[in-house]
């Protein structure tokens, strides 16, 4: 009977459903999602790359002139890079919707796709 009462109670209650994507749940502070690198702060020390457990970061070039690549398909969103960076150049935003349908002929495309952070080049 306890169950039946519970069932009927829910008839009058509003469903717990959040009609995502038409309505978003309350954001929780500090959730870890998309990685963003402020390339102007980066000094190219390589600590983040050294510590990343999923090989999701890559440096193009060296030191102060380097650019960075981030592979969303490899990243496990652990936040170690944020932790490691001595210059606080990396942060994680709350953007979760990173899914993609773009097809590329070559197999293993998702691990090859990356977001590139480029330093503005001096003329």
């Amino acid at each position: 009977m306890a169950m039946e009462r519970e069932l009927l109670r829910h008839l009058v209650k509003k469903p717990a459903t959040i009609i995502y994507p038409f309505e978003s749940p309350e954001p929780i502070e500090g959730t870890r999602a998309k990685v963003e690198i402020d390339i102007l702060k980066c000094i190219g020390c390589g600590t983040c790359i050294h510590d990343c457990p999923a090989y999701a970061l890559e440096m193009v070039g060296k030191g102060l002139t380097c650019d960075m690549k981030w592979y969303p398909g490899r990243c496990v969103f652990c936040g170690q890079c944020v932790e490691s960076c001595p210059r606080n150049a990396i942060k994680q935003t709350a953007e979760h919707d990173l899914a993609t349908t773009e097809s590329v002929e070559s197999a293993g495309m998702m691990s090859e796709r990356f977001v590139e952070f480029n330093r503005p080049k001096k003329e």
């Binding site: 959040i18 749940p25 999923a54 398909g73 495309m109 998702m110």
Partner: protein, 141 residues
């Protein structure tokens, strides 16, 4: 045939296959069924038999041991069929990249239609992946 296309978009039944993941993705796939997220809103029902399903929710690293199973299950699904690779394991191997017993990415084994990054992707992200798949269907194919 517009009506068929409409029906397909409105009724994607899913089937969950764990190819060797860590559980993280699997519980999040299940979590997308629960009241908070409720993917039945889109007409998505979780089926136990691959023959009934349109979309395979593939989670986890594809291990060498399970590869043949995966291909067989994929073949059992009736056309038209789609595959959603969920989690970084299914996309690239995630932290298990370069382990001797895994394939680095499910798309080395079967064709994949949607990729959902995350480890594990939260239910919203999975829904987002599903919606993007449906949009892709609506746009063509």
């Amino acid at each position: 045939m517009d009506i068929i296309k409409w029906a397909r978009i409105k009724s994607p039944w899913v089937f969950h296959f764990n190819a060797g993941g860590c559980n993280g993705c699997d519980i999040e796939v299940l979590a997308s069924l629960i009241p908070r997220y409720d993917i039945e809103r889109f007409g998505m029902i979780l089926r136990g038999s691959p023959r009934h399903a349109d979309v395979m929710l593939l989670t986890g690293t594809v291990t060498r041991q399970i590869k043949d199973r995966l291909i067989r299950i994929y073949e059992q699904m009736a056309e038209p069929k789609f595959v959603m690779a969920i989690g970084s394991c299914a996309m690239s191997g995630g932290v298990f990249q370069n382990c001797y017993s895994v394939y680095e990415g499910a798309d080395k084994v079967i064709p994949v239609d949607v990729y959902v990054p995350g480890c594990p992707p939260r239910p919203q992200a999975i829904i987002d992946g599903a919606v993007k798949l449906l949009q892709k269907l609506a746009a063509g194919k």
